[in-house]
């Protein structure tokens, strides 16, 4: 009960990050609607540029993707055939690369969501007080976020280089030479090694969301549970975790979507290889369309991709809501 009310009040931690003051918000629209108050038509002129470019280059193409998915167009010819649901039948009728890409997308997503949420929360808990050192460390941890995916991919391709990369060299230097790996060349684990890169890339960003969330928890509450003799774990489990739930919701939702969309990083690191071992849906769509020129088939993959993203978003929202209510 209490956790619900507090959640309601702190429902939007990133608000403070947008520099917006909550401010008073007089809701008196009703009153204004009387006496023939109409919208000034000139207001619609302000919408014109966005209302041209956005439907033209985003909405219309999205609709067209569905249309393309029902054809066998190769993207080059002037003609194509309607194939009905043929592309979809092919996707679900044992296209092993597609199945593998779906599997990889989920492996990558789960590894990143679990790893990044945990790490960013741990870092946030350690750095939530605004001391000088903490502020400096936050800036450092956040830093990779401003780099481009391509740069990050190159830095890590050096770390993971099997012959003289940082990872293998360090391992042998500390006497763990037997742990040396081919890293991104390892077909069964490469996708997880890429998940580590993604976490390195964005954990600092999610830490910032968590810190904002943690700082909305009133210190008096901690004092109260300390007086009750709560252990550290109890304090976290029954106070911090439920109260930081709005931030968790944001972190999990964002991380999920971000990992599904991690096209740039994976494309620049491995291109989906070796042998599709790191192919996720977004790279597969690109490769199907622009490597093998199966536009129709790629469009069908992209339609499935949207549905998967939508489904995962719904499920994951439920899960977060349940887990924070469970306490």
């Amino acid at each position: 009960m209490t956790s619900d009310t507090v959640q309601g009040e702190t429902a939007a931690p990133p608000r403070s990050l947008t520099f917006t003051e909550p401010g008073p918000e007089p809701r008196r629209k009703r009153r204004r609607r009387q006496a023939g108050r109409r919208n000034d038509p000139r207001l619609f002129l302000f919408l014109v540029p966005a209302a041209v470019i956005y439907p033209w280059l985003v909405l219309w193409p999205t609709v067209q993707a569905v249309r393309f998915s029902l054809t066998d167009w190769d993207g080059l010819s002037t003609t194509f055939n309607e194939v009905g649901l043929g592309n979809y039948r092919r996707l679900f009728g044992g296209d092993s690369v597609f199945t593998q890409a779906v599997g990889n997308s989920f492996k990558f997503m789960l590894a990143v969501v679990i790893g990044q949420t945990t790490l960013s929360l741990v870092l946030a808990l350690a750095l939530q007080r605004n001391t000088r050192t903490n502020i400096a460390l936050r800036a450092l941890y956040f830093f990779p976020t401003v780099l481009s995916s391509v740069s990050v991919a190159f830095v890590w391709s050096f770390v993971y280089d099997p012959t003289f990369g940082l990872a293998n060299t360090l391992l042998s230097a500390v006497g763990l030479g037997s742990w040396q790996q081919p890293w991104l060349g390892d077909q069964s684990l490469a996708i997880y090694y890429l998940a580590i890169v993604q976490i390195w890339f964005h954990a600092g960003q999610m830490m910032v969301v968590y810190i904002a969330g943690l700082q909305t928890i009133p210190p008096e509450l901690y004092e109260a549970v300390d007086l009750d003799g709560a252990t550290r774990w109890q304090r976290f489990r029954y106070l911090t975790w439920p109260l930081v739930a709005p931030a968790t919701a944001i972190v999990v939702a964002y991380t999920t979507i971000q990992s599904f969309k991690a096209f740039d990083l994976i494309y620049a690191s491995t291109g989906g290889g070796p042998n599709h071992a790191t192919e996720i849906l977004s790279t597969l769509i690109y490769n199907s369309a622009f490597r093998t020129f199966e536009f129709g088939y790629a469009a069908a993959q992209s339609v499935i991709f949207v549905l998967v993203v939508a489904l995962v978003t719904v499920v994951q929202r439920r899960a977060v809501a349940l887990s924070s209510r469970g306490g």
Partner: protein, 277 residues
């Protein structure tokens, strides 16, 4: 904490934070050092300090590659995209925030829809459109697509902010005889400055680092932006890490410098923008 006898917990915290700091810093430092080595030096000692630092890698980039052109392209595309997206989005946000009743809500909803559509869905038809009207291999094409795909998030944030302003403010301007344009310029824009800064930085990072659209639409190396040019280098200098990293450094430098000076705004802007996507 204040009495801080070195507890096990305190030590663990310090060790943990230091280790993570090293995990961030070490790869970046190694990369930085590598740019100052020749290829043989790097193979001989990948992680040593550059004993005889050389700037040859940067020279090779400038002579051999199109890096100068790509840098310029990136600057042109990023600046134009950020400025135009901000303009277009702030107009739309002003309109949406001030149109009352269902109309405003519906228009807002249609733009918010754009936040949910993954780029990989629209990209195939986008490519077809660009091909048809000759916008491939064109910086203008990149700018247009940047505006189209990032205006939803900008509109979302800016509308959210403008709606928190009391309506009386706008009414007062109206009573004083200000037209809509004047109200936008003199009331909405100045008050929305902080949101503007946040959105601008978010867009700046996003447009500067974008790989997908240059990859889709640009095949002519003289039209490539930095991320695309870097990726092409990788093909060219497969194992020549020093040159590759010199490229990474050049591509990252503007962002890193901006981050160092505008750090607070970066953190706020990127996080605010990203969590809305």
């Amino acid at each position: 904490m204040a009495l801080a006898a070195p507890s096990v917990r305190g030590v663990a915290r310090t060790v943990g934070l230091t280790v993570y700091a090293l995990i961030i810093l070490v790869p970046l430092t190694v990369v930085l050092f590598t740019t100052l080595k020749t290829s043989p030096q790097m193979y001989a000692s990948p992680f040593g300090l550059p004993t005889t630092p050389t700037l040859d890698n940067f020279g090779e980039l400038l002579n051999g590659g199109q890096l100068g052109t790509s840098l310029l392209n990136s600057v042109v595309v990023t600046l134009s995209s950020v400025v135009l997206t901000l303009l277009v989005s702030s107009w739309a946000a002003y309109g949406i925030a001030r149109i009352h009743g269902w109309t405003g809500i519906v228009v807002f909803g249609v733009f918010a829809l754009g936040l949910a559509v993954p780029a990989q869905v629209a990209m195939i038809p986008q490519y077809v459109i660009f091909k048809q009207i000759g916008l491939t291999n064109s910086l203008l094409g990149l700018i247009l697509i940047n505006i189209a795909v990032t205006c939803p998030v900008a509109i979302f944030i800016l509308t959210g902010f403008l709606k928190t302003l009391p309506n009386e403010l706008f009414e007062a301007a109206e009573i004083d005889g200000a037209g809509q344009w004047r109200t936008y310029r003199s009331i909405a824009l100045p008050l929305a400055k902080p949101s503007f800064a946040a959105v601008a930085i978010f867009l700046f990072v996003m447009h500067w680092n974008d790989l997908l659209y240059p990859l889709l639409f640009i095949t002519d190396p003289s039209k490539a932006t930095l991320p695309k040019a870097l990726l092409d280098f990788k093909g060219e200098y497969t194992t020549n890490y020093p040159v590759l990293f010199a490229g990474v450094l050049v591509a990252s430098a503007p962002m890193v410098i901006a981050y160092v000076f505008l750090q607070r705004y970066f953190v706020a802007g990127i996080t605010a923008g990203a969590t809305k996507c």
